[in-house]
């Protein structure tokens, strides 16, 4: 089928042949040839309907993101954009009114990536706040704020961040993001379940005032359905505001592809040979819709998602992938306790230990999908299903300065101390696990519920709360302060006030949770 081209626009072959920019960078929405940047391409009104974002911060760089979608909920997943490449200009400034623009450039938004762009901005100053915006045609995006990380080796006086997970849009309003957007943050860490694959019907659409068209009623499978699902979730103004607040660093859990999957294994009867095709489109849509760098661009069904960020010498964040390489659920107890069993895959595991042991950072953080702490033997989707791997991790933590695990998945706030031997609660505490509740999954929730006894039976579990919210953390060279924030309702509206249900201090050099107030 011939592609429609409208003169005098440059066609694909021409701009790919232009010198100075690699064809891959052009095609992948990173950059664009100079000639193309001047193209006067008409862009439909409201093209920035999905907002803006930044991510993957470094001391001198950050990735910017937007996806042109004048009709975000167009059923074909292309957001109402014409099927042709469009130049998108970006600029970065040290002030919000863009009087002091320090970097600007152009990226190509192409239909191959549903008109998403991921330009990486280099040459920035460490530890500095910046503002950015995009232009396409006559359209100008909202302004986003971002921040670079402190210089390599610098012991920053503090680093503040929030963690979030599990944003089932249909279960309620993103009130938690409304409050998060008012925080002063250096970064946001998202620990999985950015979307859910389930069909949205009257049975699970609890968000008062919301309605969806029939395209949303089925479990998603095709790339157009995954793109549409991201568009639906990202249409929320509070989520957009949280993205525009600070750089995000994201990992996934299972629902970015399918509930409780692991490696090429589906729990719903899809053969491994077929399942990799679902994984490929799930990973593709994840990349397209989040501020990720080119290194996390999927190659077929594979994505190199695990990576690390150093916040000067104050903290090292190891971003883990607990889905792509995990062993299958245990067939029996012998299998579950097999010494070779792995949730990270042996390669990622070694990479993690190499980055933990001997790390120069004061705080060594694991950004992780599922609960590490021992809770019950039948929670085999969590690290409970991989006890030998957990023990190896604990062993590495014992050789690491101030280990901290940030987790999501369970739709509950939980704070726990990680023990050298979970079977012996009096054993040494080697680190802390801070599990953030969901942004929306499971609706309003309640302080306690039917799962509470499973968790609080353990003396090392110091907090349990089943309402929606996020965790706010502030790190200094001396201590980590974690605040567990909740909203009491989300189904009716987004108006619930923010409450802090618990505040813990973890002193550097003395892992554990000291409850405040």
């Amino acid at each position: 089928m011939a592609q429609r081209r409208e003169r005098p626009m440059l066609d694909r072959r021409t701009f790919l042949q232009l010198s100075g920019v690699s064809s891959a960078a052009v095609a992948l929405g990173i950059s664009a040839p100079e000639a193309f940047a001047d193209e006067r391409t008409p862009v439909p009104e409201g093209a920035f309907g999905l907002g803006v974002a930044s991510g993957e911060p470094g001391p001198r760089s950050v990735v910017l993101w937007t996806r042109l979608a004048p009709e975000p909920l167009a059923p074909d997943g292309h957001g109402g954009m014409p099927r042709r490449p469009v130049p998108v200009q970006w600029e970065m400034s040290t002030d919000e009114s863009f009087r002091r623009v320090v970097r600007r450039g152009t990226a190509v938004a192409s239909p191959e990536l549903s008109h998403a762009v991921h330009p990486q901005v280099d040459g920035l100053q460490p530890g500095r706040e910046y503002f950015y915006r995009f232009k396409a045609g006559r359209e100008t995006s909202p302004v986003g704020r971002t921040k670079t990380l402190p210089a390599r080796g610098e012991l920053a006086s503090s680093f503040s961040f929030a963690t979030a997970s599990c944003q089932a849009w249909y279960h309620g309003h993103f009130s938690a993001y409304r409050h998060m957007a008012a925080e002063e943050l250096d970064a946001v860490f998202f620990v999985g379940d950015y979307i859910y694959e389930y069909g949205i019907t009257s049975a699970n659409l609890w968000r008062a005032g919301a309605s969806v068209t029939p395209e949303h009623a089925v479990d998603i499978e095709t790339l157009e359905q995954f793109r549409l699902r991201y568009s639906l979730f990202k249409s929320d103004p509070h989520l957009q505001a949280a993205h525009a607040l600070a750089p995000w660093v994201v990992t996934w859990d299972d629902h970015e592809v399918q509930n409780n999957y692991g490696a090429d294994g589906s729990r719903y009867g899809v053969s491994p040979e077929h399942f990799v095709h679902l994984r490929a489109v799930g990973y593709r849509a994840f990349y397209e819709n989040l501020p990720l760098s080119l290194s996390t661009m999927p190659d077929g069904p594979d994505t190199a998602l695990y990576r690390r960020f150093d916040v000067g010498s104050l903290a090292r964040f190891n971003i883990l992938d607990t889905r792509q390489y995990r062993d299958a659920p245990p067939a029996d107890a012998g299998d579950q306790y097999d010494e070779q069993r792995t949730i990270l895959g042996h390669e990622q595991e070694q990479w993690l230990y190499d980055g933990m042991i001997g790390s120069p950072a004061t705080w060594n953080v694991l950004v992780n999908g599922v609960t590490v702490s021992a809770i019950t033997e039948d929670r085999t989707d969590q690290w409970d299903g991989y006890p030998a791997a957990r023990q190896r991790l604990i062993g590495a933590m014992q050789q690491t300065g101030n280990p901290v695990v940030l987790t999501g998945d369970i739709h509950r706030h939980v704070a726990a101390e990680l023990k050298a031997d979970f079977a012996d609660p009096s054993s040494e505490t080697v680190g802390v696990e801070l599990i953030c509740t969901s942004i929306a999954s499971d609706g309003d929730g309640a302080p306690t519920d039917g799962y509470t006894p499973d968790w609080i039976q353990h003396p090392y579990v110091k907090l349990y709360d089943g309402r929606r919210g996020y965790v706010h953390c502030r790190m200094t060279p001396d201590e980590l302060t974690s605040e567990f924030k909740i909203v009491s309702w989300i189904r009716a509206d987004a108006d619930a006030p923010l409450e802090t249900v618990a505040r813990f201090v973890t002193p550097a050099g003395s892992p554990g949770l000291e409850k405040q107030g």
Binding site: M1, H78, E221, L223, P301
Partner: protein, 286 residues
């Protein structure tokens, strides 16, 4: 690099089909990973020489190189198919080559019913507790199902799910479902059992012991489903994630008696199955 730079998407190759009970299974060779596939669009028409690629003949969009055309019913049906590849940019390939496939006829169509519970229609909505009442199973069917054909009512007498010992919600125990039915006389020829499921547990569907009038006949092993039939009752809804399966097997005439007969399914292995229909059929022409 996983980006489609060619403006033309190639059609898939290797399209082949297999006719089965109430469904036709299509498989083809997937595009190489260099082509980022949005989906494969499968087009089909019944009783025709070719299929027009147009919205009215679109059967499904799938990301898999595989499609099970379900809900064909018990009668044999002949279909022709073509597949179009749609890539991440929205570009469409030419239609693939055509394949013609015929589904197999069910004994529920070829035979005469002696006892039937439910309708062989891809739906389990007519059964008790359907589509999502599993939490009431223990209270409603504490001793399993004991159903008299011709007397009892499907909507209250036969549970939509038959649990197994792996199901904690049903007490982690075995479950017996019994069908009673009258025959005027011993059948002169072998008869056929048809057991259709709208879904089953994906990883541990397990098996059940089939007994007729106290004689253990067979252990029926179930296909893995999608673990969705405990909350959804209609596999014919477009986009339904349910994975129906079908069991049909002969039963020797000598197993039956004049008067009351009992057919039992004793689920002592694995997790649940979700019923579409179950029936015993005399063979046509006999």
């Amino acid at each position: 690099m996983s980006v489609t730079t060619a403006s033309k998407v190639r059609p898939i190759t290797g399209l082949q089909g297999e006719g089965k009970l109430a469904r036709i299974v299509l498989d083809w060779t997937p595009e190489p990973w260099e082509t980022v596939v949005d989906h494969y669009a499968v087009y089909g028409t019944r009783d025709a020489d070719d299929v027009e690629v147009e919205p009215g003949t679109l059967l499904t969009k799938t990301v898999y190189p595989h499609f099970v055309h379900r809900g064909l019913g018990g009668a044999s049906e002949r279909w022709v198919y073509r597949v179009v590849t749609v890539d991440a940019a929205g570009s469409r390939s030419r239609p693939s080559t055509l394949v013609a496939v015929t589904s197999r006829e069910s004994v529920s169509v070829s035979g005469s019913p002696l006892a039937v519970v439910g309708e062989f229609d891809g739906k389990g909505l007519e059964f008790a507790l359907s589509p999502a009442g599993s939490s009431q199973y223990n209270a409603t069917f504490p001793n399993g199902v004991d159903f008299s054909y011709g007397t009892d009512v499907v909507g209250t007498g036969w549970s939509y799910l038959q649990p197994g010992p792996a199901d904690s919600w049903a007490g982690r125990r075995n479950h017996l479902f019994r069908l009673r039915f009258e025959l005027d006389e011993v059948p002169a020829h072998d008869v056929d059992l048809a057991l259709w499921l709208i879904d089953s547990h994906a990883s541990i569907p397990g098996s059940a012991v089939l007994t007729v009038n106290g004689t253990s006949v067979d252990r029926l092993t179930f296909e893995g489903g999608a673990t969705k039939g405990s909350t959804q009752g209609d596999s014919t809804v477009p986009g339904s994630p349910l994975k129906p399966s079908y069991l049909e097997r002969p039963l020797a005439a000598g197993l039956f008696v004049a008067g009351e007969n009992t057919l039992e399914l004793f689920k002592d292995d694995g997790s649940w199955i979700a019923y579409d229909a179950i029936g015993v059929f005399a063979r046509a022409g006999h």
